[in-house]
């Protein structure tokens, strides 16, 4: 299906958010996630099914003021 990951359109075979993180190599990475502007807590990623057109954000700690 087609999704938008961090602002970039791409194809994925993953059917859940957790599977997408595995596919991207973020299985054990310190990341937080949102789908369609809604926060998805880490414990909910396994159960969170992806749909065509979903907009997914994967974020990490960064410098800030």
């Amino acid at each position: 299906m087609k999704i938008t990951l961090n602002g970039t359109p791409q194809e994925t075979g993953a059917d859940t958010l957790a599977a997408l993180l595995d596919e991207m190599g973020y299985t054990h990475a310190r990341v937080a996630t949102a789908v369609n502007e809604e926060f998805v807590p880490a414990p909910s990623r396994d159960a969170h099914s992806l749909a065509d057109g979903d907009r997914i954000e994967i974020v990490t700690p960064r410098q800030g003021g």
Binding site: N6, G25, A32, A34, E38, V59, T60, P61, Q63, G65
Partner: protein, 256 residues
């Protein structure tokens, strides 16, 4: 020392973590200034570079409190979702809430700020709102549950100092017991000393330190200015007057 939501912090300096020449200089700035709180952000993971993990390791080694921000958010929804992601990433319910209303001045959107503060407080966040010195908006933020206010001195990154002394004094007078932090706009240590002399509890810096020629020395300079300004405030300064008043005794002067 200031207490934020029942947590006492042994420094009046909050320091940003962006724009330093290197991670080592960032760490040195924290060490020399004794800053007690580091502000951080959440940003998109890009490629497989794992920059986020390396940065997180650096911050943890500083041994300071971490205050995540919602920098760059222009809507309530963006800010709330960013705060939720930050809480999970950094393991803290502290959030420096920014809802930006204008691209040129990076001035807060007061309506969105109050709405987001209310939502986040209801979700158990401890909100540190980046606001203006507007007394009415600050009252609304306190009603929304904020137990600290962080008015700007001047727009972010300008180094213009305290642009509205009257407004900042009014805010201090109106909220005598609430922690007040000057967030944004400071450029040199004298401005931080002035904030302390007004009775403010702390300042938040980033650009002034990170973009100085010697960031670690500037950070220490600010720390000393904070100490000096606070000491002056606590020492109950004299009242200014318009006419001269001789300090040397007049009585006993020769030729009089």
């Amino acid at each position: 020392m200031p207490t934020y939501y029942d947590t006492e912090v042994a420094s009046r300096l909050m320091l940003g973590t962006a724009q330093y020449p290197s991670p080592a200089i960032l760490a040195e700035a924290f060490r020399r200034s004794g800053a007690g709180i580091a502000t951080v952000s959440v940003r998109r993971e890009s490629g497989g570079e794992r920059a986020g993990q390396a940065f997180w390791d650096l911050i943890r080694d500083l041994g300071v409190h971490v205050l995540p921000n919602t920098a760059g958010c222009h809507s309530v929804r963006e800010a709330v979702t960013t705060a939720q992601m930050a809480r999970e990433l950094f393991g803290t319910d502290w959030i420096k809430l920014e809802v930006i209303g204008h691209a040129d001045t990076l001035q807060p959107d007061p309506f969105g700020l109050v709405e987001a503060a209310r939502i986040l407080t209801d979700e158990g966040f401890k909100v540190f709102p980046y606001c203006t010195e507007d007394l009415v908006i600050c009252e609304k933020l306190v009603e929304a549950g904020c137990q600290v206010l962080m008015p700007w001195g001047a727009p972010i990154g300008t180094g213009l100092g305290l642009n509205n002394i009257y407004g900042l004094r009014t805010l201090r007078a109106h909220f005598p017991d609430l922690p007040l932090v000057i967030d944004a706009g400071l450029g040199v240590p004298s401005q931080a000393a002035h904030a302390m002399e007004l009775g403010y509890d702390a300042v938040l810096l980033n650009t002034a330190v990170a973009k100085a020629g010697d960031p670690a020395a500037m950070a220490e300079g600010f720390a000393r200015a904070l100490e000096a300004g606070r000491m002056g405030f606590e020492a109950d300064p004299m009242m200014p007057r318009d006419m001269a008043a001789p300090s040397t005794p007049v009585l006993g002067q020769a030729f009089s």
